[in-house]
Symmetry: C2
Subunit: 327 residues, 2 copies
């Protein structure tokens, strides 16, 4: 794992995001920015939605995974990598591996939804399942990494991952002039901190706001207390934000570059999802609707402002979504 | 009604579509064109989806309605217009009226879904309901038009409507170079004929293909027989294509500018919708998925080609969609 963790140190600077953008050019999708006059009327502001649900594999995660894996040594490319995720990072790393010719092994819980196991296998990855009762994915990853001499591509807490995710913010600030605010959902903080680094460099006056589920407010509490707070197994539909805490790379970046953290309830999330699906015609997963929900629920003062909103992903089973909408 | 039907005659030429584009500039949305590498792999072609589900009011219908209503006399603008639709045209005409300051009265069946009545009222239209058992919407429209001296804005069979809808094809052929094929869904033929007029002018070599539900194949049979065929109350989930026949304006244009007509089953439509929702993350109504379904079901030879696909709209109740996907 040394190869991945030491090369660029613990900091992420704008030049790292910019270099990631070069690596991703022509490979990741430059996702469209959508607007909605009914949303604008409702929030009395101009909203610009950066649609990473249209990114390859259906979420922003592909950016960080590809940026990281494209910097592997020739040796590691040949022997392959190891990663763990029950969600979007698994598919992202698997596709990045397929493109780069890197064998990918993904550690997933044995009770992961069949559809996610299938999607990950569909990108050619090998899957190792484990019992949640017997071990954690981090322990298993560490053991397998040692036994098989494979580097681990972590889901968020690595400078290359953060730099890759930061290209979302870079593109949005490049494509939409004069943004006053930028709202980004927050799980492990890779997307939030990367976007903050990029946006603040290009537009120093922009206000960057992170959004968490109310039941998984570890980053919010960490941000306001200055100490890393952990929340385990939070009860929220936003599965991408169930990560227990910010990481050692992302926490300092969030403290340095983010201006404010807010939370929304699951009910508010569902209302925002309903608006995004019904009115804006985009399929957005619960975590992907966090930033929009914060604006629509009035958690942030936006009146008269130009507001960038990151829609982080759209991977949700349609029947599961129907259940949420029937609540 | 004379005011609307005589001014530009029965033909629609490229200059009419181009003039419509000028009227719609800054008012209608220039909708994005989406691509998908998984779709391309699946159909072994390059597909370009023109996403009119992102158009204002959720379908292409806004283009034709606004183009027509913006050409009303000052007198008609003040007194208002009459239209009939249980679907997308009602919302489109209502919003166009709101923007232009034209009072809009919409004739809708008394058993229309509450959500559609609400959406139409939400744009400020007045609604007149009727019993399907007692009259037809065309009869009622004619009677009210006479009694109230209001012009009728028809849903498809008018040159200004056709010219407005044609801007969809115009934008797609402008935004995507070297298209070989253009697939467009067909109900009353306004969108299909307008797009064909525009696309053939800009790119004479392009092959334009209309797509209907198998159970509502009136236009396909009309096209191949050269005689106007009517299919009443067809059993298909594609409600926007349940119109009984092409119109007197649209039929000759379809004969002149369209190269081929194909049909797809409701089962194929649902499979295409599932792909568009699950993989491409866009909310598409059944009629809106017709053109994509024709390609995915292999109704058209597309291998190695550059294929424009019009996604016409995204207005569907989420619970209704869940029922379709559960089939």
């Amino acid at each position: 794992m040394t190869e991945l963790s030491t090369e660029s140190g613990r900091e992420v600077r704008y030049k790292d995001v910019s270099a990631a953008a070069d690596r991703l050019s022509g490979i990741a999708r430059r996702t469209p920015v959508l607007t909605s006059s009914s949303l604008d009327r409702r929030i009395r502001a101009n909203a610009f939605l950066k649609c990473e649900n249209f990114q390859r594999t259906g979420s922003f995660k592909f950016r960080g995974a590809f940026n990281t894996m494209s910097q592997l040594s020739a040796e590691s490319r040949a022997s392959g990598i190891l990663t763990y995720s029950s969600g979007n990072h698994a598919q992202a790393a698997s596709l990045a591996g397929q493109i780069l010719g890197v064998p990918v092994t993904v550690i997933m819980p044995e009770d992961a939804p069949a559809v996610k196991l299938e999607a990950t296998r569909g990108y050619g990855a090998q899957i190792v399942t484990y019992s949640r009762a017997e071990t954690t994915r981090e322990e298993l990853a560490q053991r397998l990494s040692f036994e098989r001499s494979l580097p681990v591509i972590p889901p968020y807490d690595h400078p290359h991952i953060v730099a890759g995710q930061g290209t979302v913010g870079l593109e949005l600030v490049e494509d939409v002039e004069d943004l006053d605010l930028l709202l980004v959902c927050c799980g492990g903080g890779g997307l939030l901190s990367g976007c903050a680094v990029a946006a603040k460099h290009i537009r120093p006056g922009i206000r960057v706001i992170g959004v968490e589920p109310a039941a998984a407010d570890d980053a919010t509490r960490s941000f306001y207390s200055g100490r890393l707070v952990t929340v385990r197994d939070p009860d929220t539909i936003a599965d991408g934000a169930r990560t227990p805490s910010l990481g050692t790379i992302t926490f300092p970046l969030v403290l340095q570059f983010v201006d404010e953290m807010v939370t929304v309830t699951d009910g508010e999330l569902i209302e925002a999802m309903r608006f995004l699906w019904e009115r804006m015609k985009i399929v957005v997963e619960p975590t992907g609707a966090l930033a929009a929900a914060a604006v629509m629920a009035g958690r942030v003062a936006v009146e008269g402002k130009r507001v960038g909103i990151v829609v982080s992903g759209g991977n949700i089973d349609l029947q599961r979504a129907a259940q949420l909408f029937a609540r």
